[in-house]
C-alpha cells in the first residue's frame, strides 16, 4: 500500500531504512523508510501518535532504533546521543520548546558553543550577538533575562534561531509553528527558504496543512507508526492528504472548510454575562484589561505574541496575582482569587504550556483525567473507582484519546493526545466558562476538527468560551467576538461582520502605542547599535555563527 514516487533525483543526504522502535507496550515505528534529499523541504505529517516525533528522535540519536539503519550522506550512522548527531550536521528543533527556562536568553542561544576569549566565555560578546541575532527574528528582548520570562512563541523563535546557527546539512523542525502567530510564521518561512538556498535539507513537521502547501516540496505521511505515502506535495490535494493521514476513504472525509466551525454564529444569550472581568492589572503584564463572556458565545482573544493573552487567562482564574481587578461569574464576584476558587465557581482554564502547567507526567491517563473531578467522584474522601472509570472511559472515547489504555503513563502519550487528556480533565467538571489558551496547539487535523466542533457544540449548549489562538483562521472562524490585546491592554473589539483577518491586523497595526514603549526604544537602539562589530566578531570565532544568520538578514531586508 506504500506507493513510492519516481526514483529520487540526487542521492539522499539523510536516509532511514527499515527502522523499528517500540516502547513498553507501544509499537511506535514499524519498518519505516524515509529519504531526505539535499535542498528540499520535506513535510512529515500524520495524526497525533503517528510516530513523527519518535522518528525524528531516532534520526537524531535520542532513541536507538530496535532495528533498521540511519544513513547520513550515504554513511551508515549510529548516533549514541544528540551531541553526535549535531556534530554530524543534523540540527533539530524538538516538539515542545526544549531550552533551559532559568538561564538567560543569550545563554540558551549559545549553549555549548559560547564565544570564548582566553578560554573563558566572553559574556559581553555573547549578549551582543544574541540581541543582534534574535532581532532578525522579531524578538526584541533584554537577552540577559531568564528565558522563562518570554512567552512560548518567543521561546520557540529562540530555539529556531539556535538551530539554524549551526552549520548543518539537515535541519529538523518538529511542529515549530505550534505557538507562533502569522507574522512569526512568515519569518520562519523566510529562514527556511534561505536554508534551502544554501542547499540545506529541512524536515518540517506540522499539523497546519496550508503551511505545508506553502513551504514544502515533498511530503511523507505516517499512520500508526508506518509510512503510508511519500511524494511531491503539489501532486496531492488536501483532501487526499487528510484521508491518507486518517486512513479513511476520501468520501468519508467530509470537506468542512479549513476549520470545523460551522459558518453561522452561536446564539449568544443576552443579559447577565457568564464571566465578567473588569480592570485586571498585573504589574508589567496587564493594564486594566476588561472583558465579558456571555453564555453560549465564543469570545476570541487576539494579539501578537506577548500581548498578554495567556496572562489575561491566568489572571482571570487567579493563577496570576493581580494588583487590581474584579472577576464576576454570573454576577457573583469571586472573592478568594485562586484556581481552586475559580473552578468551584465553574471557570476553568486549559493552560498554554501543556508540559509545565498541564499534565502530571507520572500519573496514568485515568488519574490525569479525573484529577480535578476527584472530589465529585468520591464519597467521604474515598474515591469511587466505578464512577471514575465510567467518566474516564466516556471521555477517552468521546475525544478519541489514543493510548494503550487508561493506565498508560500520560507522559508517554503523543503531544496531541496529552492535550486531549487535559481537555477531558476540564470537560468532566462540566464548567460554566471555558478559557482555552491555544487549545489546538500540536493537534492533528482530525483531532483539531473534533476539538473545534466540540467548542462549537459546548457553546451551543450555553457554555461561555474564551478562545486564545495564534492560528488566525481558527480565531476568526471560531469566535463570535474578538477582543484585541496589545502590550497587556485592550486596544479594540471586533464583532459580527468585522470579525475578519484584515479587521484584526488593522486593529493591531493602528492601535495606539502605549507609554511602555519608551524604555523599549532604548534597548532596541543600543542592542542593534553596532551590528558591524558583532558580525565580524561572530565571523572571527564561531564558524557556526555566520552561515545561519547571514542569509536570513538578506531576505529580511
Amino acid at each position: 500500500m506504500v506507493q513510492q514516487d519516481p526514483e529520487p533525483a540526487g542521492d539522499p543526504v539523510l536516509e532511514v531504512a527499515g527502522v523499528n522502535k517500540s516502547f513498553a507496550g507501544v509499537h511506535a515505528l514499524r519498518d519505516v523508510h524515509f529519504a531526505l534529499r539535499p535542498a528540499e523541504v520535506h513535510a512529515l505529517i500524520g495524526e497525533n501518535g503517528a510516530g513523527k516525533s519518535t522518528l525524528i528522535k531516532v534520526m537524531t540519536g535520542v532513541y536507538r532504533p530496535d532495528a533498521g539503519t540511519v544513513r547520513l550522506a550515504g554513511r551508515a550512522r549510529d548516533f549514541r546521543n544528540p551531541l553526535e548527531a549535531q556534530a554530524a550536521g543534523i540540527s533539530t528543533i524538538y516538539q515542545e520548546v526544549n531550552l533551559v527556562p532559568l538561564m538567560s536568553v543569550a545563554r540558551n542561544l549559545h549553549l555549548g558553543r559560547e564565544p570564548r576569549r582566553f578560554g573563558l566565555v566572553d559574556v559581553a560578546r555573547m549578549n551582543r550577538q544574541a540581541t543582534e541575532v534574535l532581532g532578525r527574528y522579531g524578538v526584541h528582548v533584554d537577552v540577559t533575562r531568564p528565558l522563562r520570562s518570554l512567552g512560548l512563541g518567543a521561546q520557540q523563535m529562540v530555539a529556531l534561531a539556535r538551530a539554524v546557527q549551526v552549520d548543518a546539512r539537515v535541519v529538523i523542525m518538529d511542529e515549530p509553528t505550534s505557538s507562533l502567530e502569522p507574522r512569526e510564521v512568515e519569518t520562519l518561512f523566510s529562514v527556511i527558504r534561505s536554508l534551502k538556498e544554501q542547499g540545506i535539507a529541512v524536515v518540517y513537521v506540522s499539523h497546519r496543512l496550508d503551511e505545508l502547501y506553502a513551504i514544502c516540496d515533498r511530503v511523507t505521511v505516517m499512520r500508526d507508526g508506518a509510512v503510508v505515502h511519500t511524494g511531491p506535495i503539489a501532486e496531492l490535494q488536501r483532501l487526499r492528504l487528510v484521508s491518507l493521514m486518517l486512513g479513511r476513504e476520501m468520501a468519508t472525509v467530509r470537506e468542512k472548510g479549513t476549520t470545523a466551525f460551522d459558518a453561522d454564529r452561536h446564539n449568544r444569550q443576552e443579559g447577565r454575562p457568564a464571566l465578567r472581568a473588569t480592570g485586571l492589572t498585573v504589574r508589567h503584564r496587564l493594564h486594566g484589561v476588561s472583558l465579558d463572556v456571555h453564555p453560549g458565545e465564543v469570545v476570541g482573544l487576539g494579539g501578537l505574541l506577548g500581548a498578554g493573552r495567556s496572562e489575561t487567562a491566568k489572571a482571570i482564574v487567579g493563577a496570576l496575582a493581580t494588583e487590581e481587578g474584579e472577576v464576576e461569574v454570573e454576577g457573583r464576584p469571586l472573592h478568594r482569587r485562586s484556581p481552586a476558587a475559580a473552578i468551584r465557581a465553574g471557570v476553568v482554564m486549559l493552560p498554554e504550556d501543556r508540559k509545565i502547567e498541564g499534565i502530571i507526567p507520572n500519573l496514568s491517563v485515568r488519574e490525569n483525567i479525573s484529577l480535578a473531578a476527584l472530589p465529585r467522584l468520591s464519597r467521604a474522601g474515598l474515591v469511587s473507582q466505578a464512577k471514575q472509570d465510567e467518566v474516564v472511559r466516556f471521555f477517552m472515547d468521546r475525544l478519541r484519546i489514543k493510548a494503550s489504555g487508561p493506565d498508560q503513563k500520560v507522559s508517554d502519550l503523543s503531544g496531541g493526545n496529552q492535550q486531549k487528556v487535559l481537555l477531558a480533565r476540564w470537560l468532566c467538571l462540566n464548567p460554566k466558562v471555558l478559557l482555552l489558551d491555544e487549545p489546538t496547539r500540536g493537534i492533528d487535523v482530525g483531532a483539531k476538527a473534533e476539538v473545534q466542533a466540540l467548542i462549537d457544540e459546548l457553546a451551543g449548549e450555553g457554555l461561555g468560551v474564551l478562545l486564545i489562538s495564534s492560528d488566525l483562521e481558527e480565531l476568526i472562524e471560531g469566535s463570535d467576538r474578538v477582543v484585541i490585546l496589545k502590550d497587556g491592554s485592550v486596544v479594540g473589539h471586533l464583532a459580527g461582520e468585522d470579525v475578519t483577518e484584515e479587521g484584526l491586523l488593522d486593529a493591531l497595526a493602528t492601535a495606539p502605542e502605549d507609554p511602555a514603549e519608551e524604555p523599549a526604544a532604548g534597548t532596541v537602539g543600543d542592542s542593534s547599535a553596532e551590528p558591524g562589530p558583532a558580525q565580524q566578531a561572530a565571523g572571527a570565532t564561531d564558524p557556526a555563527g555566520p552561515q545561519g544568520p547571514a542569509p536570513v538578514k538578506e531576505n529580511q531586508r
Binding site: 546521543n81 551531541l83 526544549n98 533575562r145 506577548g306 496570576l320
Partner: protein, 333 residues
C-alpha cells in the same frame, strides 16, 4: 510598513516587561544573603565591642575557612540539581589521610587525600550519571560508607595519626591568612569556572532542564561525573588542610557538616532544584552562618547548649525565611 509597526510593538512588549521589578528580582535573589549578612554585621558591631575586633574576626575566619570549601563543592553539585551528603565524612577521612600521609612526607599528605577524594567522587558520579541513581542515595551511601572506611583505617578510631611537629604540611593550615587566602583562591576559581566556562554553563543548563540539556547536545553525563569528582576532591582537600591545622586526623570530626554546607548554599540563593545559583551567594551564605554562630555563642552560651541549639535552629529558620522572601519573584510558582 505594518511589519515595522509590529516589530516595534514586539520591541515594546519585550522591554516594557523588563523594567525594574523583574530586572532586579534575580539580583536580589543572588544578593539576599549578602543583604542579611550586612544587616547582621552592622547590628553586631554596633552592639558588641568585641565582635568587630580583628582577633575575633580572625578566630571566625581561621578556624572555619576550610569547612567552607565543602559549601563550594556543594554549590556546584546543587546547581546541577544534585546533592552530596558524603562531604562531611569525606572531610573527616581527608583529615585522617592527610595526617597519615604527613608522617611519610608533605607530598603524600597532599596527594593521598586528593586521590582518595577524587576516586570516591568519580564512583559517586558514575553511579549518578551512568547507573541513573538518585544523588541523595548515592551520597547517603557515601556518608555511611566513608565513616566505615574511616573507622577501618584507624582501627575503630583507636589510633590517631599526628602530623609531625615540623612537617611543612602544618604550615598549610597555620594562622589566619594562609587558610583564608587558600580558600579565597578556591572560591575565586570556582566562580570563574561556573560563570565563565562551558563546563559551568553545562552544569547550570542540566540543573535547569536536564532533558533539554541532552537534546541541546551538551555533554551532560560527563559533566555529572566531573561535578561529583570535584565535590569529593574539594571535600578531601578541605579535610586534609583542616587536619594540617589541627595537627592530627580527628576521626569524630565533620559530623553534620554536609547539612551546614547545604544550608549555606541555599541561604546563598542557589536553588536546591538546580539550574540557578552563584558562588558569590554561597560566600555570603557561609559568612552569614559563621557570624550568627559566633554571636549566638557570645550571647547565649551561659544558658547552656540546649538553649543555644534552640536559638540556632530558630535563627536558621528566620534567615532562610528572609532569604526566600527576598528572592520571591512575580513568577507563578
Amino acid at each position: 510598513m505594518t511589519s515595522t509597526a509590529v516589530t516595534t510593538a514586539g520591541a515594546a512588549t519585550g522591554t516594557a516587561r523588563a523594567t525594574l521589578g523583574e530586572r532586579i528580582a534575580p539580583q536580589i535573589q543572588r544578593r539576599g544573603a549578602l543583604a542579611v549578612l550586612v544587616l547582621v554585621v552592622v547590628i553586631a558591631s554596633a552592639t558588641s565591642s568585641t565582635f568587630p575586633t580583628w582577633s575575633n574576626i580572625s578566630s571566625i575566619l581561621g578556624n572555619n575557612a576550610f569547612v567552607w570549601v565543602l559549601a563550594l563543592g556543594m554549590t556546584f553539585v546543587i546547581i546541577t540539581g544534585g546533592i552530596d551528603l558524603s562531604v562531611g565524612s569525606m572531610y573527616a577521612l581527608g583529615g585522617v589521610l592527610g595526617a597519615y600521609g604527613a608522617t611519610h612526607g608533605t607530598w603524600l599528605a597532599i596527594l593521598l587525600p586528593l586521590a582518595v577524594g577524587a576516586a570516591w567522587g568519580t564512583v559517586q558520579g558514575l553511579l549518578v550519571a551512568k547507573a541513573r541513581m538518585a544523588p541523595f542515595i548515592v551520597t547517603l551511601v557515601g556518608l555511611l560508607g566513608l565513616r566505615g572506611l574511616l573507622q577501618a583505617v584507624t582501627d575503630e578510631g583507636a589510633t590517631t595519626y599526628l602530623v609531625p611537629r615540623h612537617s611543612h604540611f602544618r604550615s598549610l593550615g597555620a594562622g589566619t591568612w594562609t587558610p583564608v587566602l587558600i580558600v579565597a583562591a578556591l572560591f575565586a576559581l570556582g566562580a570563574l569556572l561556573l560563570t565563565r566556562t562551558r563546563f559551568g554553563a553545562t552544569l547550570t543548563a542540566m540543573g535547569g532542564n536536564e532533558n533539554a540539556a541532552v537534546l541541546l547536545g551538551l555533554p551532560v553525563a560527563r559533566a555529572k561525573v566531573l561535578v561529583y569528582l570535584l565535590s569529593g576532591t574539594l571535600a578531601a582537600a578541605a579535610g586534609a588542610l583542616g587536619g594540617a591545622r589541627l595537627g592530627s586526623g580527628v576521626t569524630t570530626i565533620g559530623v553534620g557538616y554536609e547539612l551546614t554546607a547545604i544550608a549555606s548554599v541555599v541561604i546563598g540563593g542557589t536553588l536546591l532544584t538546580g539550574g540557578s545559583g552563584s558562588v558569590s551567594g554561597t560566600v555570603s551564605g557561609v559568612l552569614l552562618l559563621a557570624v550568627i554562630h559566633n554571636l549566638i555563642d557570645h550571647y547565649f552560651s551561659q544558658y547552656g547548649s540546649a538553649f543555644t541549639d534552640t536559638v540556632n535552629g530558630g535563627f536558621l529558620a528566620v534567615v532562610v525565611l528572609m532569604q526566600t522572601l527576598l528572592s520571591r519573584t512575580q513568577q507563578l510558582e
